[in-house]
Structure formats: structure tokens, C-alpha cells
Amino acid sequence: MDPVENVRATAQELLSFAEEQEVDVGPFCTDGHFEKDQRWVFFWRKDELPYSGPAGEKEGTLHYNMQGVISVLPNKLKESAGAFRGAWTEAGTFENVEQAFALLKAWLLDRKEVDELPSRSVRRYGI
């Protein structure tokens, strides 16, 4: 699938799930990209094309990439306080749409700090 269409289609899955939960994230979604107050996240699913994930990964795996401002340095980098500039970047995968929605809500709407975010499989992170 075209990567932009992949991101848009996966965002639509999230929007539909959010609607079922009666949570309105639509105002924060532009062209498949969720962004609010200096934080963003987008999602896509693994398909047959190389861009969408590691070779050998199961097709349909739900991925995310997020970035934005944070106030609290996450525990896993607590020794790096001197390098902290108030920002976070992270990418990984989810087991299902429910997990993805929980992260979307916690990151954008509830503005949780990194150590307060819900369960997910983190593949890379950085400050």
C-alpha cells in the first residue's frame, strides 16, 4: 500500500475506535497525523513494502512514531539529565488498536509524561 494511504487508513481505524469510546480526537488529526500542543504521533500497519517494518515481521503489525515536549526526564535515561532538552522521541508497536488508542489519548489528550504512558512495545527512544 502507498505509505501515505497506509498512515491515513490506520488513522481512520484509530478515529473510528475513538468514536466508539466517545472520545473526539478528530480535531487533532490532519491527513493521518495526530498533533496537539507540540506533541505528535502517527500510526501505520506493516504490509508487503520495505518501509512499513522489519523484514519477517507479521503483516498487519500496528506501528507508531511519536515525538514532543515533555517535562519529566524518563527513568530509563535518569543518568542523562544534563543532556535533557525537554523533548522525547519514540517508535514501536502495539498488540492491537486498543493499545494504540490508549497511547494516543495519554500522549495527546491527557499529556502524560513518558513514564506514565500505557503498555506498548518500544523499539527506539531518545531525548
Partner: protein, 130 residues
């Protein structure tokens, strides 16, 4: 001063990590970072593979890929790359879509994008970091 035996720059605090290695401050070259690959868990040629992947992407969109320094030893366990400073400006959706499409043959490209700047180029943009 770089390590005299390995040529690796001196490293400082950890800045992040991923499936293949850990990223550290580069104490000898401001504006650059050092990524050290996990020994035993990745190919001994991983640094060269990452350099090749970034160079391949740079032929497609040079302004949207971090620069990496060529390896002195193809089996060295580390690579020096530009540091990306996350930008707090709203991201450019049109550029994001262009980058996603242009990098559709780059493995795992969406997961390795950041919105930020580098020392050499202060314009916020989408950057492929590995």
C-alpha cells in the same frame, strides 16, 4: 581526543537506544552523536550496513537524512552521525507525505523519522535517523 586504538570519539551521556545499539553524546565533535552497536546481538558489519542505508536514502532526499561519517574499519562497532534536535514547531504534513512516499523502499523508514534540525541546517524538517 578520540580513542587512539579504535578511533572512536569519546562518548558522554546516553541520548537514546534502539534495537541495534545505544546513542551517546560525542564529546569530541559537537553536533554529532556516537551510536554503539550491541556486540553479539547484531552483525559485525552493522555499522557499515547503517552507513550504506543512510547513503542510499541520501541519494533520494539529501536534506531529509542525517549525515554519517564514513567508517575507517568496516567491522567497527560504532558509527558517528549528525545529532538531531527535536523541533517544537508544528510539523510539515506535506513534507511528511513526500518523505514517506520517497522512502517507501527504505526499510522501516516511518519508524526512523524525526521532526527536527541539525547543527548544519537549522530549518525544521523530517529527518531519517537510521
Amino acid at each position: 581526543m578520540p580513542n587512539g586504538q579504535t578511533g572512536r570519539p569519546r562518548i558522554g551521556r546516553e541520548l537514546g537506544r534502539g534495537a541495534e545499539g545505544v546513542v551517546y553524546e560525542n564529546l569530541d565533535q559537537p553536533g554529532w552523536v556516537v551510536k554503539e552497536f550491541y556486540q553479539g546481538a547484531t552483525s559485525p558489519l552493522q555499522a557499515g550496513n547503517e552507513f550504506a542505508n543512510l547513503e542510499k536514502a541520501r541519494t533520494i532526499r539529501p536534506d531529509n537524512v542525517v549525515k554519517a561519517q564514513a567508517l575507517a574499519d568496516p567491522r567497527q562497532g560504532w558509527i558517528v552521525k549528525e545529532e538531531v534536535y527535536p523541533s517544537n514547531t508544528p510539523s510539515d504534513k506535506n513534507q511528511e507525505n513526500e518523505v514517506l512516499r520517497d522512502f517507501q523502499n527504505i526499510h522501516d523508514a516511518p519508524g526512523n523519522l524525526m521532526w527536527g534540525t541539525t547543527t548544519d541546517n537549522p530549518t525544521p524538517r523530517w529527518l531519517l535517523i537510521e
